[in-house]
């Protein structure tokens, strides 16, 4: 299967849907079919990587390191598959969740541009190319965030846009400096050349630049402000796709850069630094989550806490720890998406995201309650769900590595996550709804609360159900996914394999 497919499919979908601007029906069809095609491509990619090992493609048939290389190792292929899964779920959910005016304003083309940017970023083997894909997903996310144009959205969008543009600026300058220093953009080539660089001072500072630039995207402490400032403002489908995928790109890039490029003998003390930041991210994230009174802001802060866990594995930098990070990414993409979708469902039922105004959902929407219980408990790392296995791997890796403080923080954060989830459960599902009439909060692109048509119920419920089942499967059938993550981690810990696959034996 050509490596370009996971990029080309959303691109073509977006372009065709843009041409079909006038026909909402066409756009919707294309949006859904394209997403499922992407899912199929993701499955195909993962299978081919499993069979053939690291796969590369030289775009334009120009040899590496001159042309742009696309690389799919286990790590990238797994993430591409996740994009397909989340993308398909969101595409279906959006059919009923996003208001028709918004849909007709290029919702689906933008969604697919976003998906394209994300998959391409995972596959990019060229650092400037990675920058371009960052911009692609960024601009799409800007527009999706602001789509609807209500005040909270605009406020969130301005902060989101500004901080992400600063990140892009730092990324771009770091790329420029990197090219100036080593004269190449191919990541494998950069890695090789940095190992023999006479003047290693520049590497340390560059590493910091990349840490900050990607750290903003990944939403690590203290760079995550844009996330809680904005994720609760767009329609639920949009927050779901953001929360599930966008920070993953930042984390992916950090892991890629710091295992491939900045991973040599004279490596700067960035791993301990990352470890410290990971701990602070977990703590501040989860502390933020336990005081929020908006359903989605609880989830946003929990998403930050999750970023901390994923960084933890990178900071410890052992094969098992990285396996834990990758497993956590898999778990987190699915569980975060479904939690935001559940919040969206709650909003559709009761017309608000505010916990003090919600209530009684356990009676009114029992299946939603079941879904929330499963997904929320998984987030909190309760066995036997996906989050448990993810955290177990990380905790074990931490204890093996002797990082006792980090493990203590991870465990405490797990407890507080449970607390935050229990708070939501208490307020939204178990408490009686407030007696007085609840004022309806319109969020751009979402329709009024009220009785849903059966068709809408299906479109809103099916993605939630599917993802919840996945959460359970990832937990119960953790073995195969562990093996995948393990293979990915081993490739990351031995960058020579990646470099060999990209550059061949050539020097």
């Amino acid at each position: 299967m050509p490596l370009i497919l996971p990029i080309l499919i959303p691109f073509l979908t977006a372009a065709l849907a843009l041409l079909g601007w006038r026909s909402l029906r066409l756009q919707r069809w294309l949006g859904v079919v394209g997403a499922f095609a992407l899912l199929a491509a993701g499955i195909g990619l993962l299978i081919s990587v499993q069979n053939e090992g690291i796969r590369t493609a030289q775009i334009g048939n120009w040899p590496a390191p001159y042309g742009i290389t696309l690389v799919a190792d286990h790590f990238a292929a797994l993430l591409v598959l996740l994009v397909g899964i989340v993308g398909s779920a969101i595409a279906v959910y959006s059919l009923a969740d996003i208001d028709e005016p918004q849909q007709s304003f290029a919702y689906y083309p933008l969604l697919h541009v976003l998906l394209m940017g994300v998959t391409a970023a995972f596959l990019a083997g060229d650092i400037f190319n990675l920058y371009v894909w960052f911009e692609v997903l960024l601009i799409a996310s800007f527009v999706l965030l602001a789509l609807g144009g209500e005040r909270p959205q605009i406020e969130g969008a301005i902060k989101y846009v500004t901080l992400n543009l600063i990140s892009s600026f730092l990324f771009l300058t770091a790329v420029g400096i990197l090219y100036g220093a080593v004269g190449t953009l191919n990541m494998a080539d950069v890695a090789r050349k940095l190992q023999t660089l006479d003047n290693p001072d520049i590497v340390t500072t560059l590493a910091v630049m990349f840490l900050v630039a990607f750290g903003i995207k990944a939403a690590i402490f203290p760079l995550y402000f844009w996330l809680p400032a904005s994720y609760h403002t767009p329609p639920a489908a949009v927050s779901a796709v953001f929360a599930a995928l966008l920070t993953k790109v930042g984390i992916y890039s950090l892991i890629r850069m710091f295992t491939l490029v900045f991973d040599h003998a004279e490596a700067p003390p960035t791993f301990p630094l990352i470890l410290v930041l990971a701990g602070l991210t977990m703590l501040t994230g989860v502390l933020g989550a336990i005081v929020q009174d908006d359903f989605r802001r609880v989830l946003s802060f929990n998403a930050i806490c999750g970023v901390g866990y994923m960084m933890l594995g990178l900071g410890m930098h052992t094969p098992l720890a990285l396996t834990g990070s990758i497993f956590y990414m898999t778990h987190s993409a699915v569980v975060t998406a479904v939690l935001f979708l559940i919040a969206g469902n709650a909003h559709l039922v009761r017309g608000t995201f505010r916990l003090d105004r919600l209530g009684g959902l356990a009676r009114e929407a029992p299946w939603l309650a079941v879904a929330f219980a499963i997904a929320g408990l998984s987030l909190a790392g309760i066995p036997p769900l996906s989050g448990f296995v993810a955290k177990l791997i990380l905790v074990r890796a931490g204890l093996e590595a002797g990082e006792h403080l980090a493990v203590a923080i991870a465990i405490a954060a797990g407890l507080l996550t449970l607390y935050s989830i229990a708070r939501v459960w208490d307020a939204a599902f178990w408490k009686e709804p407030p007696a007085h009439e609840v004022p309806i909060e319109r969020i751009g692109g979402e329709h009024e609360p009220g009785p849903l048509l059966p068709r809408e119920k299906f479109l809103l419920g099916a993605p939630v159900a599917t993802l919840v089942v996945l959460v359970v499967i990832i937990g119960l059938a953790a073995g195969p996914i562990f093996s995948l993550a393990d293979a990915a981690a081993n490739e990351l810990m031995n960058p020579a394999g990646y470099i060999e696959a990209v550059l061949g034996g050539a020097s």
Binding site: F128, P152, E155, I166, G176, Y179
Partner: protein, 115 residues
């Protein structure tokens, strides 16, 4: 010249970032614009300066006359210029919308969704 341009880049970055820390949305946009100029010039300078020949190959030859400027940073900058044009256009439209919705240009007023 490298040192001079390095300083120019530093100034552009500093002024751009300073503008982004102001409370006016408009200054934010101006700051962004300055910042992207800084980034472009940074790539140009860091990639190596060559006075004179553009990387064009005369008819019938296979190599450009030396010394020629490194074409790759130029291509990167071209991409970056166009991308930042797109982003800036959107940002300006967003700011326009923000003023419309909130009736102010003051960023400090935009805290209703976070409190």
């Amino acid at each position: 010249m490298e040192i001079l341009l390095a300083i120019v880049v530093g100034c552009l970055v500093a002024t751009g970032l300073y503008m982004m820390m102001r409370r006016s949305m408009l200054k934010l946009a101006i700051g962004l614009s300055l910042l992207s100029h800084g980034a472009n010039l940074l790539i140009f300078t860091a990639g190596g300066l060559t006075r004179g020949q553009p990387p064009l190959i005369p008819q019938g030859e296979t190599l450009p006359p030396a010394p020629y400027a490194d074409p790759l940073p130029q291509a990167l900058i071209l991409t970056a210029i166009v991308i930042s044009f797109g982003l800036l256009a959107f940002t300006i439209a967003l700011i326009y919308r923000a003023c419309h919705v909130t009736g102010t240009d003051d960023l400090d007023q935009l805290t209703t969704t976070e409190t």
